[in-house]
């Protein structure tokens, strides 16, 4: 029972981490909470679903398609809803309200056009499970966890080693200075949104496979946001650690205490952390840019 709960928690945590990285990445460079990320994830799931059920593609193509779609959507979102605000140096709160507007807009757009039906992905691994130390783990969960860690690892490597990655990290430190050094900040921000959106599309697909696809599934991303806050907004490592911690703790609470208390607990943690430790476990201290 204990090990089983732990494994479930880890696989939930892996998906949380994947989504939390998107929040953190954008927060680190633009210093605001991009609530539209949840909708990007949701639409990524729908794209994956469309590719899988309409065209009958294999898992690899589905994941690639959802990543590309999520990335493009996030770039478009930035272009239309944030860029003007960014150029005007608007307070980060305005960006957040705009993001909230996007999220409400996209979510209900899906309601109106696709409908509120719940869709299931076709089975990719026909419910196969492997037994490990007396507890069973589904192959899809293992695959999702491994692929999530791989994607986050690749992102970390990209940020640490590549020339563009260095530019992004420079932008995180000081956007103005970075642009004075000859970096095209608009392109830089677009790239960050592309990366975050691609991870979002990936997370959406895995979430859709694990649960179901429906318009309000972006709500689960509130949890991912909490995970990002636990780890410290803006920190990549923090997002992973926060995601795993939240996933495991939540699973244990719903297994041993009650599944109702689980959500209350998560939101209480969120408020407590914002009040007592707004920089989370690994975040840098950030003042509000006025």
């Amino acid at each position: 029972m204990f090990l089983q709960t732990l494994f479930t928690g880890l696989s939930v945590g892996g998906i949380y981490a994947l989504m939390a990285v998107g929040y953190s990445l954008i927060f680190s460079i633009l210093n605001f909470s991009n609530f539209a990320h949840g909708s990007v994830i949701m639409l990524g799931a729908y794209m994956g679903l469309g590719l899988a059920s309409k065209f009958g593609l294999k898992l690899g193509f589905v994941v690639a398609g959802a990543m590309a779609g999520g990335g493009l959507l996030a770039v478009l979102n930035e272009r239309l809803a944030y860029r003007k605000l960014r150029h005007r140096n608007a307070p980060s709160l305005y960006l957040m309200i705009s993001a909230m507007g996007c999220s409400v807009f996209l979510e209900n757009m899906v309601y109106v056009t696709i409908g509120s039906r719940f869709y299931a992905f076709p089975e990719f691994f026909t419910r196969r499970v492997v037994t490990f130390l007396g507890s069973s783990v589904s192959v899809m969960d293992l695959f999702a966890l491994a692929f999530s860690l791989l994607a986050i690892g690749a992102l970390g490597l990209f940020l640490a080693r590549s020339r563009t990655g260095i530019a992004i990290r420079a932008g995180v430190c000081d956007m103005t200075m970075c642009s004075l050094m000859g970096v095209d900040t608009d392109r830089l921000v677009a790239l960050v949104f592309l990366l975050a959106g691609a991870l979002g599309g990936l997370a959406g697909t895995f979430m859709g496979v694990r649960y179901l696809v429906y318009p309000t599934m972006g709500w689960i991303t509130n949890k991912a946001y909490i995970a990002a806050v636990i780890g410290g907004l803006g920190s990549l490592l923090g997002a992973i650690v926060g995601g795993v911690i939240l996933g495991v703790v939540e699973t244990f609470i719903s297994a041993y205490v009650s599944s109702i208390l689980r959500d209350v607990f998560s939101f209480t943690i969120l408020i407590a952390l914002l009040v007592c430790m707004p920089n989370g476990l690994f975040g840098k201290s950030m003042e509000e840019r006025v």
């Binding site: 608007a90 709160l93 309200i97 705009s98 209900n108 109106v112 909490i226 914002l274 509000e288």
Partner: protein, 283 residues
């Protein structure tokens, strides 16, 4: 006729909540994605009192108002004292609202997610108009008082306001409690008008609708948000737009206003000012 009456009643109930958030967001400068939670508390407390305990309507309403004000202290005291970044504060209130919804959905006295049916329909248009009128008068007087001036000073520049001796924490908390009281009243009236309430009615969607009205109407105006909120309720009804399309529009409005006119349609002005030129001294 009864159709127009019911739209007007709903619009006026909504206006009370919008007025509350206008005091908090428009005049004190803090944003909230969770004020629907205060509506929910007002609705549930007053409905439970009249439903199970046969408490007189106005007493129940008053209890609902008191309860949502008290609840606002629970979330307001720690978050405002810690002086969170303004976006963290908005998120903290959002978390509070979501947590409240989960609790409401799992209590037995609230009948869980199925909702509370058969609440006595005490709310009538005259009652709503009376409440709305009182609320507008209270809001006007509050904003013209020392406290209101302190709120506006805090909105304009927290640091300068504090330097001139305004207690930031107390001013913000007072504004939050007052706005929560308005939302509580609105919720109580709504519950006794629809005679059915459900936790889903008081979530982020409702919060967004109130916030969209305040932002669209103008930060720092009372009449602007009132007009905007009336239009938000009446226009889609009149045009027979489906609920989903309304939400699509609210989302779009938030984005467009932020992009093109962040001060809202009226900005810092009142409607009466538009007809009275040249403008007198600033408020």
């Amino acid at each position: 006729m009864s159709y127009i009456l019911s739209i007007t009643t709903l619009a006026c109930i909504n206006m009370i909540a919008v007025l509350g958030l206008a005091i908090f967001t428009g005049f004190t400068g803090l944003f909230s994605f969770g004020h629907a939670a205060f509506m929910g508390i007002g609705a549930y407390v007053s409905a439970i009192l009249t439903y199970y305990y046969d408490v007189p309507f106005f007493l129940a309403l008053a209890c609902g108002v008191a309860a949502s004000s008290a609840a606002s202290l629970i979330i307001g005291v720690p978050t405002l004292r810690a002086r969170l970044r303004s976006d963290y504060f908005a998120i903290a209130i959002l978390g509070f609202g979501e947590a409240l919804r989960v609790i409401l959905e799992n209590l037995s006295i609230t009948n869980g997610a199925r909702g509370l049916p058969g609440i006595a329909p005490y709310t009538t248009l005259p009652v709503v108009l009376l409440c709305l009128g009182l609320c507008v008068i209270v809001a006007r007087n509050f904003l013209r008082s020392r406290y209101g001036a302190a709120c506006i000073a805090v909105r304009e520049d927290p640091v300068a306001a504090e330097m001139s001796g305004i207690h930031l924490f107390r001013t913000r908390l007072l504004s939050l409690a007052l706005s929560a009281a308005y939302c509580g009243l609105s919720g109580g009236l709504l519950a006794h008008y629809l005679s059915f309430i459900q936790p889903v009615m008081f979530t982020l969607v409702q919060s967004t609708q109130i916030l969209a009205a305040v932002i669209a109407g103008g930060l720092g105006s009372i009449s602007g948000p009132l007009v905007a909120s009336f239009l938000f309720v009446a226009l889609p009804e009149a045009l027979r737009v489906a609920q989903m399309w309304r939400l699509v529009a609210y989302g779009l409005i938030l984005v467009l206003i932020m992009l093109f006119r962040p001060q809202g349609l009226l900005g810092h002005q009142e409607i009466s000012r538009l007809f009275k030129r040249p403008a007198g001294e600033g408020h």
